[in-house]
């Protein structure tokens, strides 16, 4: 099982968390209902204390083991210093304005792309968004620190860029339009699975 894009991952997450949410609400509701019963209620399941603690520990640690093995960008991010990117794009931000790479950002499917972003003043963010508004990925952009992210696109698509971190109201015009949004900046082609 591998999540090739954030859409697949978040869809799975949405279903899993919704099931959990209904489960925990139902358990407490059942519990509350039976608290008032004069007749001794039988537990649906009897959970030994140590089994419960083991479940919590396995849940907490297992979650990270699961994501490490199913989300490709985790291991890529950790070992990014040892991976040679296929393409590198340099960005700079000053006074809420992007200084974009001179070349067009056309990326081939499966290429490893390094985005390097420098802030000259404030803390910003670097986020790529699909045309339907969903987020593909993001990172923080701190002034005075290296802000580099290695990314592999596994689906075709056209992506908008904006700052994902608040850097003051100057990011917007008087009407509230985002001045740091760059439409259709990144284009990914060559994947056989269509757009995602």
């Amino acid at each position: 099982m591998t999540f090739a894009s954030s859409i697949e991952l978040l869809r799975f997450h949405n279903v899993a968390y919704t099931i959990y949410a209904f489960l925990i609400i139902s358990i407490i509701a059942w519990f509350g209902y039976n608290l008032t019963k004069k007749k001794k209620a039988n537990s649906l399941v009897r959970i030994p204390f140590y089994a419960y603690i083991a479940f919590l520990v396995i849940g907490g640690v297992g979650h990270h083991i699961f994501t490490y093995n199913t989300i490709p960008w985790v291991s890529e991010d950790i070992s990014r210093d040892h991976i040679t990117p296929d393409q590198t794009f340099n960005f700079e931000i000053k006074s809420h304005k992007w200084i974009l790479p001179k070349e067009k950002i056309n990326i081939k499917c499966g290429q490893k792309v390094l985005f390097k972003v420098k802030s000259d003043d404030l803390t910003y963010g670097f986020g790529l968004f699909r045309q339907d508004g969903t987020m593909a990925m993001q990172m923080q952009v701190d002034p005075g620190s290296p802000n580099e992210i290695l990314w592999t696109f596994n689906h075709n698509g056209v992506f908008d860029l904006t700052s994902t971190e608040y850097s003051g109201p100057a990011q917007y015009d008087e009407e509230g339009n985002d001045l740091m949004k760059v439409k259709k900046l990144v284009k990914v082609t060559g994947c056989t699975g269509g757009q995602k």
Partner: protein, 549 residues
């Protein structure tokens, strides 16, 4: 009784019969609920703005400067003005009540609620008039950016926050001075004994003695378990106050220099290092004192509601110590999106130690539920209902955060509406506030000398509106986060408006719930009683239920 008579005089509330401790408690509670109304209204303004151009609000609220100034003060008013005040009020009453000792200083307790109220008001006024809006995160060097913000507005804001922190330090002093006072039942206790009990070491030693087949280290611990939780959580409250004060002083130096015509170089402070420092302190609120205080409150409420001893008390004492240590080491989960942050810190602090919170909070949930279960049958009172609501809130909110405290998930969830709604708002509105409402219903007859609540029906409506509205708002706005909606971003074109409309409807339920609760309280104590709470107490007693020495 007629409506007018209730409104003026309440049910059977007599403010002249209250002692100094009861009055100072109620003063802070009144301010806390007024600030709750303000923060809920601010929240609703923001919810309505992001529904898009059809929102019914005047255009000024969609202006970026105004919108983000609201976003800046919303957590200041909500967390410090309301939650801190309510928690401090409850604990400054509970510590003397549970230890059977007088509160160290009523004057200091009065100074605490006054400082927090004035500080919150100053921060709010600064944001309202000058649109100072660096948000609560104060990411360097934004709070010192005088090209975007008014210097005087910034200074007033920081002074306001500093006053809140001074009030917080006053609370801490009062609590520890009361706990360590060697009077009453603690007359013959040493500071060492009180410290051992405060840190839960006696609980650990009791477990160790049991394992090794020896008699218990301490059959009757010096401090009751809820007092231990207050003691332990207050350590984090202290550290957090120091960090926020430190950051405030730094910002103040830059702003005052700028006002004096001298521009200091903001690049002298490393933004990422500052972020680590600030999140270490700020996270002690979210992952430290809140979780510890809440666990302690659950234990107290479960014991009071059932009238029985807490299940696995020694484990609970030891777990509170573990929670304290965990809370000092988890801040990196806020920096998983910062590529300059060392990977090892992300892995250990951000992921692994953070996952321990599932264990500590899960343990508190388990102990509380078993304590209630063993005492069946119980009457479904308002306090029990709210306690169960609080358990649901944290049952939902803690895993929502653990899921995001992961390098893979954080890459696509950081700074989205997921974390602020599915985690923070559900934890605060449902988890924390429902626990606090439970405490309000438990303490109400004690603090008000048996005042009858005006309407049980209104209490019930408040409960359901608050519960459904709180969970619904968190769920719908959290779903918008999964669809890419950012948390600190302005959306004026209705980009996510279906989910935002649903979130706004649920937010309105929370606001209406608060109005009904306030109405119920006012009709119970009456306007005369409400004013009377703020008049000096004739009875200067600083304790409850004991004769002062």
């Amino acid at each position: 009784m007629s409506f007018a008579k209730n409104l003026i005089s309440g049910t059977n509330f007599d403010h002249t019969g209250l002692n100094a401790l009861q009055k100072v408690t109620l003063r802070a509670v009144v301010m806390a609920f007024l600030f709750f109304g303000l923060t809920a209204t601010e929240g609703m303004i923001m919810r309505l703005v992001v529904t898009g151009p059809a929102n019914p609000l005047p255009a000024m609220f969609s202006h970026p400067a105004h919108y983000f100034s609201i976003m800046t003060v919303h957590p200041i008013v909500g967390i410090f003005g309301s939650t801190y005040q309510l928690v401090f009020a409850a604990f400054m009453f509970l510590v003397p009540f549970l230890t059977k000792k007088p509160l160290y200083s009523i004057k200091l307790a009065n100074a605490v609620w006054l400082l927090i109220t004035i500080g919150t008001a100053l921060a709010w006024l600064s944001a309202f008039f000058s649109h100072y809006a660096p948000l609560y995160t104060l990411y360097w060097p934004l709070p010192a950016d005088t090209t975007q913000f008014n210097v005087i507005g910034g200074i007033v804001f920081i002074v306001g926050v500093a006053l809140i922190m001074l009030g917080t330090l006053g609370f801490i002093y009062n609590i520890y001075a009361t706990i360590f006072a060697r009077v009453g039942v603690h007359k013959n206790k040493t500071t060492k004994e009180l410290l051992i009990s405060g840190f839960g070491i006696d609980g650990m030693l009791n477990i160790w003695h049991k394992i090794t087949g020896r008699p218990p280290y301490s059959k009757e611990p010096a401090l009751a378990l809820p007092v231990v939780a207050i003691f332990r959580g207050t350590v984090d409250t202290f550290l957090d106050a120091l960090v926020i004060l430190g950051a405030g002083i730094l910002v103040l130096i830059y702003l005052v220099a700028d006002a004096g015509g001298m521009s200091l170089n903001v690049a002298s402070i490393n933004a990422l290092l500052y972020k680590n420092f600030f999140w270490w302190g700020l996270d002690l609120v979210a992952d430290g004192l809140v979780l510890i205080y809440v666990a302690g409150s659950w234990y107290l409420l479960a014991s009071l509601i059932t009238g029985q001893k807490l299940f696995m008390e020694n484990v609970a004492r030891a777990a509170l110590m573990l929670e304290l240590l965990v809370s000092w080491m988890v801040w990196s989960h806020h920096l998983l999106g910062d590529q300059g942050q060392p990977e090892m810190m992300k892995l250990i602090s951000g992921e692994m130690v953070t996952a321990f919170e599932l264990l500590t909070q899960g343990l508190a949930l388990f102990i509380t539920l078993v304590t209630l279960w063993k005492a069946r049958p119980l009457k479904m009172t308002m306090e029990l209902k709210y306690l169960l609501g609080g358990l649901v809130g944290f049952g939902l909110a803690v895993p929502a955060a653990i899921i995001q405290a992961d390098m893979g998930m954080n890459r696509v969830l950081h700074n989205t509406q997921w974390i602020i709604f599915a985690h923070v708002h559900i934890a605060l509105i449902v988890g924390l506030y429902m626990t606090l409402y439970s405490a309000v219903y438990v303490l109400w007859p004690i603090v008000t000398n048996g005042t009858k609540m005006y309407s049980h029906k209104l209490s019930n409506i408040h409960f359901w509106l608050h519960l459904i509205g709180g969970i619904g708002m968190g769920a719908f706005a959290g779903m918008a986060g999964l669809q890419g909606m950012l948390r600190r971003h302005l959306y004026v074109h209705g980009e996510f408006n279906h989910l935002m409309i649903l979130a706004a409807i649920c937010g309105t339920m929370v606001l209406i719930a608060w109005a009904l609760f306030l109405y119920n309280i006012v009709m119970s104590v009456g306007i005369k009683g409400l004013i009377g709470i703020f008049l000096p107490a004739k009875d200067k007693t600083a304790s409850y239920g004991i004769e002062e020495e």
